[in-house]
Symmetry: C2
């Protein structure tokens, strides 16, 4: 049975909430409580989880640790994933220094740039390679995920190159809607979309006549 | 009538797809076609848009330009929003250089740091202020949105300070689930969540026995 991608997209949020509940010492949770924490209806939660078998007991709620463990297994969060970064400018360096990846099983093992002065630099355990050698380096040292932190102009060709190296999961920080083959997963870090989801509240809170519209 | 936040969250995506359609020269779009582009059911799209009045004609689809204009007005995307950045390290500098904000009406007008060597530097039109002067500077030069690019340890106190200055929309890049009052909108740039929504496909595609689980 094919599981809808919207369901898959919600599962990491479920896992995160369950992780918080477990840390708070809670052992059982109802679909109602999960729903409130996630802003999703309890019926939706029961339906989403039903794709993966029977987790809850009627009227008894879900066992937090067991459900979390199952979700981690389903999502592959119990695995360590290897990542390569392309683009080691300001943003790329910030990504190399990001403290949130390792605790969640995501490890940067390679980094690439096209700038002569940057190639050969060592940042932590990583030596920056020439992006022209992308294929050779990734053949010797395969990765699961590519992270793209180049400019908007360069992003599509870098993504094409990563796909050409057999990478099937790409996280794109560049401000473009890139194209990938159907069997490649692409996610975009999109601060503008996040900002645009807040301006509604700004606009409808402020009643200043100086606002447009 | 209060509009559910999940509906508000989807509207910027609708606006983006409509913008693409308009640029491609398409004048009318059905809820079916919007649904395919957005991975949402046509019924959901009709329901979401019904909160804001009658946009489509039965069986005739939506007028692309008119719907886009309406969504822009509803979301406040026809307005220019002023933003302040706190944290001008590698990530902060990348954010200051991000080319995606201005075309969408988001303008960085102030930046703050606590590092002596960083305070006073000028980056483009912006002079970096001491974060100790946050309140004074933002009183003289009010902003709508705060962007947080400090470390995980500093993030909550910076967010508290921004809220204390009356800011009601915050974009947090630090890897923490921060707390804000109910009337403050908080969005988090969360690359780990994006990565975790892809590992399912990596895991279920690769059948290598070396994988855990």
């Amino acid at each position: 049975m094919e599981i809808p991608s919207v369901v898959i997209d919600r599962l990491p949020l479920y896992a995160r909430v369950l992780d918080n509940l477990e840390q708070e010492g809670q052992t059982v949770v109802s679909s109602q409580e999960l729903g409130i924490r996630l802003n999703v209806t309890p019926a939706q939660i029961r339906k989403d989880l039903s794709y993966f078998g029977r987790f809850g007991k009627q009227g008894r709620g879900y066992n937090v640790s067991r459900l979390l463990e199952e979700l981690r297994r389903i999502l592959g969060l119990d695995h360590q994933w290897r990542m390569a970064l392309v683009g080691v400018g300001r943003l790329g360096r910030a990504i190399l220094g990001y403290e949130g990846f390792m605790p969640q099983g995501f490890k940067l093992v390679a980094a690439f740039d096209s700038d002569e002065a940057t190639i050969g630099q060592e940042l932590g355990e990583i030596r920056i390679d020439d992006v022209a050698n992308l294929e050779t380096v990734l053949e010797e040292q395969p990765v699961d995920i590519g992270i793209v932190a180049v400019t908007a102009e360069e992003a599509q060709s870098v993504i094409d190159a990563l796909v050409g190296c057999g990478i099937r999961s790409i996280l794109n920080y560049a401000p473009i809607a890139a194209h990938v083959p159907r069997d490649v997963q692409l996610r975009r870090i999109d601060p503008v979309l996040a900002l645009q989801s807040m301006t509604y509240y700004l606009k409808h809170r402020q009643k200043s006549p100086s606002l447009t519209g």
